[in-house]
Symmetry: C2
Subunit: 230 residues, 2 copies
Amino acid sequence: MNGLRLRSTDMYSFTEENYLKTIYYLAARQEGEVTTNSLAEMTATKAASVSDMLRKLAEKQLIHYRKYQGVRLTEEGERLALKVIRRHRLWEVFLAEKLGFGWDEVHEMAEELEHIRSEELVRKLDAFLGYPQFDPHGDPIPTPAGFMPSVEYSKLSEVPVGTEGRVMGVLEHSPEFLQHLDKTGLNLGCRVRVQEVNNFDKSVVVQINRDKTLFVSNEVARNLLVDSDH
Amino acid sequence: MNGLRLRSTDMYSFTEENYLKTIYYLAARQEGEVTTNSLAEMTATKAASVSDMLRKLAEKQLIHYRKYQGVRLTEEGERLALKVIRRHRLWEVFLAEKLGFGWDEVHEMAEELEHIRSEELVRKLDAFLGYPQFDPHGDPIPTPAGFMPSVEYSKLSEVPVGTEGRVMGVLEHSPEFLQHLDKTGLNLGCRVRVQEVNNFDKSVVVQINRDKTLFVSNEVARNLLVDSDH
DNA sequence: AAAAATTTTTAGACTCGTCTAAATTTTTAT
DNA sequence: ATAAAAATTTAGACGAGTCTAAAAATTTTT
Ligand SMILES: [Mn+2]
Ligand SMILES: [Mn+2]
Ligand SMILES: [Mn+2]
Ligand SMILES: [Mn+2]
């Protein structure tokens, strides 16, 4: 009766699942191997603890690990990471769509729910939600088969003047950022048209939903994804 | 990044929550104090481990504990136990009503979901489910204020011949038992009329939904609750 | 190509929850 | 009222996951 009893193979601890997920995210956002320090920062632990865990994950063949050289997920490791991310994002959809939580509130709860281990539960949840493609932040939901759908959106900060599109996602997920977007009316799916880019601070002026104009700082603009399909 | 980081007061580990819940259940079904051995059996651990944990729970003022004399929940301990039970039963309703799981499948998943700690989540889930009074097994759901609604049903095995009533709950929760009920058609809410009690083996003959008759072993009958309101 | 700075790993220790084996207390049987 | 049996607690150990401090490897600077 500790936190969890790991019965079969293919059962990993919360901690292991969190490391795998974190390695996946870090690998996705830089080239090359994921470093011990970046993992320590991301998981709010110390490098020494990360080293220990990396050794264990390597023993379990979930990562490729050469001492001092950083890590990379094995196929099995990636499969597992995507499973966790799938669960996380499905629960976020549930919390937002069904329970009415704001997109700024769902992440923390999903951090716990993502570790509930029942294949059948995930399948049924997926069906109940109507097989959503994206979570409340616009992030794609990995398929049951363990494939991460690719999306190619552009940062609002990098799109040429005159571009019109929709807000499709965010790169920053902090409640503060999301609440700021709520306050300024930059919701997911809203139509934006870049009217002007200020050269000295890279802030942009956009028109929202063909209605009012809005000044958007570069800080915000570079964390907003818009579809670049025209 | 271990199983869970316990931030504030009023945050307890999965293990602690499980012990409290178990003490509550054991206290409810016998008179007097709950014994170390019964807890060890119920939690599938050893008596030595239980002793350790009881010392810790007593330090945290969650139980009254006199060595060798068994334990009893404090008010705070009971408040917490009821909170866990409330979460468990609400999740069971969700799994059965919304996701379509059978009543024989929901318990195990609820054992994990009951530890998700967010007051707001429980409130919203409760509302989403329409403030259910009972879980899929007919067990009452503790109120948000921490009160366990009392129900007084009778075991089918103890009701006089001629009694007519409805199946309102079960005392045994194993998947095997519940599947057996499914197979024989003894669902929750079905109308039963006791037609005969066989004296030598205490089995009963009941009429279901004013339709077909059914032979029910005493083993089954004493785990079935019927409303005794006439 | 050294030296200095940085990153990573190792060593040793701690908490939580568990275990087995042994000691102690309580209960039951004689 | 003792002795035997059963229940409970203590002692000592272990694995998971974490920490700090120190050692080792790598990278950067000079
Ligand atoms: Mn999230
Ligand atoms: Mn998300
Ligand atoms: Mn249950
Ligand atoms: Mn139940």
